[in-house]
Amino acid sequence: MAAMSDYERRLQDRVLRPLVHPGRAWNITFAGLLVVFGIGLVAYAYQLRNGLVVTGMRDRILWGLYITNFVFFIGISHAGTLISAILRASQAGWRTPVTRIAEFITVVALTVGGLMPMIDLGRPDRIPHLFLYGRWQSPILWDLLAISTYLVGSVAYLYLPMVPDLAIARDRLGVTAGRWKHAFYRSAALGWRNTPAQRRLLHRAMTIMMVLIIPIAVSVHTVVSWIFAMTLREPWNSTVFGAFFVAGAIFSGIAVLILLMALLRKVYHLEEYLLEKHFVYLGYLIAAMAAIIFYFNVSEYMVTGYKPNEAVDFQFNQMFRGQFAGFFWFYLVGGMVVPVLIVAFKRTRTIRGIVVAAALVAVAMWIERYFIVVASLRIPLLNYEPRNYAPTWVELALTAGAFALFGLVILIFVRFIPVVSMWEQAEQHAVEEGHRASPAVRPALPDATPGGGA
C-alpha cells in the first residue's frame, strides 16, 4: 500500500474534521433553520386543516409561491449532477473540489422541490391518484416520472464517487466518529478496500451514470417546462420553453453552487482546495449562461411582440411598465447584465465579486420563476377584470420553511459526508504535481491511527 503524501494527509484532516467537530456555527445555524422549518410545518398544518383558501391562490391565479419554488428548486438541482457530469465528461481537471457540493445540491433541491407540488395540491391524500389514475398524455405524469428517475439517478451519482471517501472516513475516523456514524461509514463504504476489481467496477459504474444522467437532467427541466408550455396560456405558448428552462436551470444552479461553495469554504477553511480559480471558472460559466438566457429573452419578446394580440399586449404592459416591471427589469439587469459585467472586469472578478454575481443571479432566477407563473396566469382568458395575487403568511412561511429544509439537509449532509471528494482531489493533485504515484482510483487507505491522526 502506497504511503500517504503530506498533501493527502492534510487534505483528509481538513475535510474529515467537520464530520467529527462540526463547530458552534453548525449548531447555531442548524437550530435557527430548525425553528424556521418548524414555522413552515405549523403553516402547513394550518393549510391542511383549513384548505387552500388560506393561500392567496384563487380560481384565476391558481399557482403562486409553491409552484414558483418548485420550478426554482428543480432548476437549481441542475447545479449538481448535470454540471458535475459535464465537467467529468469533459475531463475538466479543476472540477474535483466542486463536484461533491454540486451533487449535494442536486439531491437536496430535488427532494425539497418535489415536496412543493404536494403542498400545492392541498389534499395530499390524493397523491396516489397520480399513480392510480395517471394518464400517459399528461405532462404531470411525465414530470413525476422524470423527477423520480432523476432523483434516483442523482442519488446514485452522488453516492458512487463517495464510496472511497466513506472508506477513508471509516478507516481514518474509526469509532471516534461515534458508534452510529462509524456503523454508517462501515455499511455505506460497501467494504471498499481499493482492490483492482473494485476500482474497475466503480469506474465503470461512474462512467455509465455520468453518461446516463446528462439526458435525464435535460429531460427533467424540459418536462417541467412542458407543464407550462402545453397549457393554453399566451406567454407559455413557446416552442423553446424546454431549452429556455434547461438553460435557466443551469444558470441558477451554478449560482447556488457558487454560494454554497463560498459558504463551506469560509466555514470549513477549505481555502487550499476551493481556490479562486474555481470561482472564476464558474463565474465564466455564469457569464456564458447569462448571455444565452439574455438571447432567449430577446428572441422570445421580439417574436411575440412583433405580432401582438390582446394577451401579448397585456403581458408586455404588465411586464415592462406595469405591476411586474420592477421584477422584470431587476431580472434582466440585475440577473444578467450586472453579473456579466462583474465577471468581465478583472477588478471585480474576485471570489467576493463572483459571490455577489451569483447571489444576484439566484434571486433574479427565483423572480423569473415567479413572474413566469403568476404574471402569465394574471392575463384574463375571458372578459373579466384581471385579478391580483398576493401570497399569504401561510405561503410565505412555507416558502421560508422550504428554504430552511434545503439548508437543514445540506447541514446534515456536511455532518456525515466529506464535502470535497478526497480521493479525486488527491488524484488530481498527483497529476498536477506531475508524478504518477497514485493508481486510477486511489483512496489513501488506512495507515493512520483512528481518530484522524492528523
Binding site: A156, L160, R170, D171, L190, G191, R193, A197, A205, I208
Partner: protein, 308 residues
C-alpha cells in the same frame, strides 16, 4: 341731495340687472350639464377596443370631455370630432390632456365619435358612438314607450353532447314587420361548482333584412340547458328576451384522446421502452455496486475498518 338722488337712480338702474343676472345663474344651475369624461387609453375609448357608446337622452345638455391617458403611444395627438353635430374638440396630447365641449343633444340617433388625426391608435378611435335616444325609450329614466319587440325562435328540441345547434331567431315589431339590423345575443344560464347561475355569452349576430339571424351553440354539458335569446333594444324598439330549454343527451366524448396526426412508432410502447432502458441501465449500475461489495469480500483480508 343731488348726489343722493344720483345714487338712487344708479341703484334703481343696476338692481334689476343684478337680480336678472342672479335669476339667470339660478336658471343655469337648474340645467346643469350631464358631464361625461372619456379617457383615451392605448386601448381606445375608455380602455374599450370596440363597442364604445355614450347614451344620452335627446335635449340633454352635455359636457363631453376627452382625457388623454396613453402610456405606450406617448407621442399620440388627437382631435376628436362628433359627426352629425359638426363638433370638433381642441387637440389633446401629453401636454394638453383634456378637451371639453358643451352642447345640447338636439338630434336623436347614433353619431360617430372619432379622432380626426392619423394617430397610432386610429383604428381604435374611429368607431365611438354618441347614441341620442328619443324621449320614451327609457334611457333617460322615464317610462319606455318604445313599441314592443317580438322574438321567435326555431331550434331542435334536443341535441347530443358535442353537437353544434343552430338557433334561428326572428325579431319583429308588434305588426309582425321584421326588424333588420337588430343585434341579438344568445346566452346560456348556467352555474359552476355550486355558484349562482350566471348568463354566459354564447353567440351574437345581427338580423338580416328578413329580421332573422342564426346563432350557434355547442352543447358541452349534458342535461337540460337553459338558454336565452336577448334583444337589448334600440332607439325604435323595446328590449325583448326569450327563454329556451335544450335537452342535451350523451354523445361522443368531447375530449380527443388520440392526436389527429400521429408519428408512426411514437406511442406508449416507445415511451415505455425508453423508461425501461433508463431504469434498466440504473439496475446495471446497482449490480456494479453489488459487485464492489463482493470484490471487497473476496479480495480483502480482515476487517475493513482498518483494525489498526
Amino acid at each position: 341731495m343731488r348726489r343722493l338722488l344720483l345714487l338712487l337712480l344708479i341703484a334703481a338702474l343696476t338692481l334689476p340687472a343684478t337680480l336678472g343676472a342672479g335669476a339667470r345663474r339660478t336658471g343655469a344651475q337648474a340645467t346643469e350639464p350631464m358631464k361625461v369624461r372619456i379617457p383615451i387609453t392605448d386601448n381606445g375609448f375608455n380602455d374599450q377596443p370596440t363597442d364604445f357608446t355614450v347614451t344620452v337622452p335627446q335635449g340633454q345638455l352635455i359636457e363631453l370631455t376627452f382625457v388623454w391617458e396613453q402610456q405606450i403611444h406617448v407621442n399620440d395627438e388627437h382631435i376628436m370630432i362628433l359627426e352629425g353635430y359638426n363638433l370638433e374638440w381642441p387637440q389633446i396630447d401629453v401636454n394638453n390632456r383634456e378637451a371639453s365641449l358643451r352642447f345640447v343633444a338636439e338630434k336623436a340617433g347614433s353619431f360617430r365619435l372619432k379622432c380626426d388625426l392619423e394617430c397610432e391608435i386610429h383604428d381604435l378611435l374611429k368607431d365611438g358612438k354618441l347614441l341620442v335616444t328619443e324621449p320614451g325609450t327609457g334611457a333617460a329614466g322615464g317610462p319606455d314607450t318604445r313599441p314592443e319587440t317580438q322574438l321567435a325562435l326555431t331550434a331542435p328540441v334536443g341535441a347530443s353532447l358535442g353537437n353544434k345547434v343552430a338557433f334561428s331567431i326572428a325579431a319583429g315589431d308588434t305588426t309582425g314587420a321584421p326588424i333588420a339590423g337588430a343585434k341579438l345575443q344568445l346566452v346560456e344560464v348556467t352555474g359552476f361548482y355550486g355558484l349562482d347561475p350566471q348568463e354566459v355569452d354564447v353567440a351574437r349576430a345581427v338580423t338580416a333584412a328578413d329580421g332573422t339571424a342564426t346563432l350557434e351553440y355547442i352543447a358541452r354539458r349534458t342535461g337540460t340547458r337553459t338558454l336565452k335569446a336577448i334583444f337589448p333594444g334600440d332607439s325604435q324598439h323595446a328590449p325583448a328576451s326569450l327563454d329556451v330549454q335544450l335537452d342535451v343527451g350523451d354523445g361522443p366524448s368531447l375530449y380527443v384522446v388520440h392526436p389527429p396526426t400521429g408519428i408512426p412508432g411514437v406511442n406508449r410502447f416507445f415511451v415505455s421502452g425508453i423508461i425501461i432502458a433508463v431504469w434498466g441501465t440504473m439496475f446495471i449500475v446497482a449490480m456494479h455496486v453489488v459487485g464492489i461489495v463482493r470484490a471487497g469480500r473476496t479480495e480483502g483480508s480482515g476487517e475493513e475498518d482498518g483494525s489498526v
